[in-house]
Symmetry: C2
Subunit: 301 residues, 2 copies
Amino acid sequence: MATTLTSTDSSFRSWLTSVGPEINAALAGAVAENSLPSAPKRLREAMAHALLSGGKRIRPALSLLAAEACGSDRARAMPGAVACEMIHAYSLVHDDLPCMDDDTLRRGKPTTHVTFGEATAVLAGDALQTLAFEILAQQSSAALAVEQIQLLTAASGASGMVGGQQMDMDGEGQQLSLEAILQMHAGKTGALLGTSILLGVASAGADLTPWRSYAASIGRLFQISDDVLDATRSTAELGKTAGKDLAADKSTVVGALGLDGARALMAEEVQNALNAVAKMNPVQHHAELADLPVFLGTRHA
Amino acid sequence: MATTLTSTDSSFRSWLTSVGPEINAALAGAVAENSLPSAPKRLREAMAHALLSGGKRIRPALSLLAAEACGSDRARAMPGAVACEMIHAYSLVHDDLPCMDDDTLRRGKPTTHVTFGEATAVLAGDALQTLAFEILAQQSSAALAVEQIQLLTAASGASGMVGGQQMDMDGEGQQLSLEAILQMHAGKTGALLGTSILLGVASAGADLTPWRSYAASIGRLFQISDDVLDATRSTAELGKTAGKDLAADKSTVVGALGLDGARALMAEEVQNALNAVAKMNPVQHHAELADLPVFLGTRHA
């Protein structure tokens, strides 16, 4: 573990780089014309814009990593990986709408509603959500399909991602307690990110239990580091509008604890995740799993 | 059949009346606080507003009718019935948004975005869609869950309902051909309405094949009659803004064929549906199944 912690070559970054092309090809295939022959052209193009305009593909990469760590393969994990990224992509499209965060820039490119108009953006987001569940339901194992749909709906619905977005909006203009902020984060981003790991574990037919603590730590870590990122980086570096949480008067971990406090909380979560790895007993990818929390905790150093 | 056709007592209307309370109770239970204990209050209230503010419940009533007609029971059909109505409800919330149809009145009540604000309305729609698939995935039979999720995603996504809405928008300001209008309708409304029948058939473990033609006719009939309704009734009678298709310069069957032509097309579809019933061989509810097309074809006489 010590060598991983002090490594300057991030092996999770290498994993991201190595599986990126495969993930992007699967995502592109899912919204290609021959996959959606009856969809109106403009709608399909908006869905493709939302899904394929960059992005680090952390969620699908986590699904594939976890599947292999459980002794399974990437092909079996890919539907879950793709579905998870579609849910993420739809949430960004709706989150960027004028009536929500009103953001015109995402990953350095015009947001979906800027390019296709608001109405089409609403519909493209809706259809991406539907497609995520359609892809999961088309798998040959009904038991796996149902397990993954249960995981993904729980992470992304009113008690998960969408609920977190509502809490975020409801809390605008007031300084929430750290506990309320972490609860909001757990829904808004943490649940889906952690679930991307569990979707991979499920695709391997493995027991989710030993992975839950790790998945939860990784989810928390991601959002805390996102808050730090928003507070410290410029728009050009981010590829999206920087400082928007501050501008929107939103409560963040940085706001509640200060920058040093937020970094200390990250360090604590890194340790939680590393402790969890030690108990998960992966058949491979131990290094990447142990490096992931370090990668998330230091990407904005 | 002749007695059903000339009946002045609509037995499908009686069915709607008799199963309405059971359906409304199931819908209310699905968005009650104890069903969604982790959802933010405001989000849950917006979901409940969207789902529980009236509505004829035709889709869930069709699911239950088809299930019993196939020899199964209502309890087994209820998850599909509820899921279908949730998809319908979410689509209305998003359809009513200012950037879409900009409607302030629905079933005689203020639309969700008027009551809760646009951002919460977007999220409530999103969460209702997720909940529909969550409810289907929670059924004890994984095979049934997957079959129903496949049916519902196909009917409601980019190649179904959402695709139809996009076609509707893309066609604004131009008079589409009758064929294009019917294709748009098939997606926008027909697919989900027909699928509500197939969800009930699936819940009974019955073969969908003999039901497909009937379901398709019922779907077409519903939208043609909806066009006639929009062209002939007042806002007070409709409980939603009347004449809005005309105002939005949208292509309708009435626009393409005139009122008499649209009614003639309805009569043709009524006959198609009645022919289909004769081949379906239902174990019960023959009268209601035969009355349904007449009910849809004459509700705006």
